[in-house]
Amino acid sequence: MPDVGVMVPLVAIFGGLIWLLVRAIRGREVERRVIFIFIFVAVATPILFPITFQEHATPVVKDLFDRIENLPPGSTILMSFDFDPAMAPEVQPMANALARHSLTREHKIVFMCLWATGQSLLNTTLEYVIKPDFPHLVDGVDFVNVGYKAGNEGVLNVIVSDFKKMFPTDVNGVPLDSIEIFDKVGSCRDFDLILTVGGGRPGPKEWVLFVGDPANVPIGAGVAAVVAPQLYPYYPRQVIGILGGIKGAAEYESELAQTHPRFEDMEKPGLRMMGPQTLAHVVIMAFIVIGNIAFFRGRRGRKTE
């Protein structure tokens, strides 16, 4: 009975909001923990009883999708996992969708990380996405994981001119000189596309500053929502497309499933998370309205006194 499961919390949430509105109109304070409970219920309900929405790729997402779609098969893509477990719920769905799309178009991917924590999350993508979905692909032939290097922008500053200087081997200790993908890759300039997924520093912004602009390499970014507004000014000239927050991930997953029917039944965490997002946003907007009513009412009361 998922409908009843959804309806009861929804009635509780909106009934509670009306109760708060009445309290605000009467000029009474609201305990901050009440707000936390509302947000928790608004987030938990669609997780327990999924509510899904249709998503369509906006131009900023579609441009990146089209670029990967239209690259000739066998193109070489560098993909950097620059995030940590705290950011993972938001950006890992993007990384998974981008990896799926690139590999299904038969592109070669070089995986790397500028964050130490990215390595284990990259392994998660390799283990739970690439191996099950692409069992025929061979590590070291169709994709290669060169792992993490400390140095932040320093790493980018080196690989923009000499990739193997900073990454002499892959994570398994195999020299890059013996890996076929690197026969035609000497530096970042030789990649057909760079995909950076992250949201902190170093992240997509540093990739634009230290690699994209100096080497004139197209960069596509999947970013945590918090930093997405800072990256939009780079679109479309310095970044060819941006997946901003979980909404961007959901749009990309939707576009991938529509274009490649084999992914229709894949797990779509981005789309799944849009239900809690929507309900939580509605609750937050309601709180902003209630807060403003309380504020203006309080100000009018003070003026009257």
């Binding site: 947000i39 928790f40 938990a44 719920p89 500053n157 081997t169 939580a280």
Partner: protein, 274 residues
């Protein structure tokens, strides 16, 4: 610690053990390391709830989780840095013996002082731990700050200033594939989609007017009255809309993180969803 604190700690310990046992039992059929994985999932759930407990008020469980997170993060980054960069990049270029010891392929190369300078600077950086020789750490720190400032200056000047300024010079009547063909052609081929000519024109005008009015707002050499004042008011609106968009995105980001943790609690810990 008073009596109620002992009771709370005791209840949490009992719940932890109970969760561990139940989780291990539920994993026992499919996972041969079910005791370990049962503990890890229970520990993750405990730490998640400990962090969330701060929403009620500050407490020892929150402090424990916070300190553990900071300590583990620092140690994790340090060990990853050592194994990936010092063992991965430096050792193979310095010594065949060490390469063999760390089981990384040796890369024979002639003696090069460039490999030793970072080693010396790295050791000097660690002198910060010494009260007597701590001042030596200022040298590598100065180099790091200076180099970073120099590199960033050039990169930011190019990407965040020159290219951004040139990107602001947008054709107000559109460009390929939306080249302006005249008012008649524009109306007869009116396309209201997000990728149509109207949207492209509006976008370019908003960029132009938004940047212009935003700059006017920060121009303080003339009094903000008349037309200048109205442009300044528009500039404030542009700034407010930008801040609002940032706030909206921040809310989306934070809610995503909450969804991630709640999903973990419901799926991996409580097994309420598949």
């Amino acid at each position: 610690m008073n009596r109620s604190t002992y009771i709370v700690v005791g209840v949490v310990v009992v719940l932890f053990l109970l969760s561990w046992i139940l989780k291990a039992v539920s994993l026992s059929g499919e996972d041969h390391r079910y005791i370990l994985h049962g503990f890890l999932i229970t520990m993750s759930a405990f730490l998640t709830l400990a962090i969330f407990s701060f929403l009620y008020r500050d407490n020892p469980f929150y402090k424990f989780a916070e300190h553990l997170f900071v300590g583990v993060s620092a140690a994790f980054w340090m060990t990853q840095g050592f194994w990936s960069t010092i063992v991965g990049n430096l050792i193979p270029r310095l010594s065949a013996g060490f390469s063999e010891f760390f089981m990384v392929p040796h890369q024979p190369s002639p003696w090069n002082i460039a490999y030793w300078i970072p080693v010396i600077l790295g050791i000097l950086l660690l002198m910060r731990l010494s009260a007597k020789y701590g001042w030596l750490s200022r040298w590598p720190l100065a180099l790091i700050v200076g180099t970073t400032a120099g590199l960033n200056f050039v990169r930011y000047l190019r990407s965040d200033f020159i290219v951004q300024v040139s990107s602001t010079f947008v054709p107000l009547l559109g460009r390929e594939p939306h080249q302006w063909q005249g008012g008649g052609a524009f109306i007869s081929h009116l396309d209201l989609s997000a990728t149509g000519q109207l949207a492209a024109l509006l976008t370019n005008w908003i960029i132009f007017l938004g940047v212009f009015c935003g700059i006017v707002y920060f121009f303080f050499s003339k009094e903000h009255t008349g037309v200048f004042g109205r442009a300044s008011r528009v500039g404030i609106w542009v700034l407010m809309i930008t801040f609002g968009a940032s706030f909206g995105y921040t809310v989306m980001g934070r809610i995503s993180l909450l969804v991630g943790r709640v999903t973990f609690l419901f799926r991996d810990w409580l097994e309420l969803i598949s």
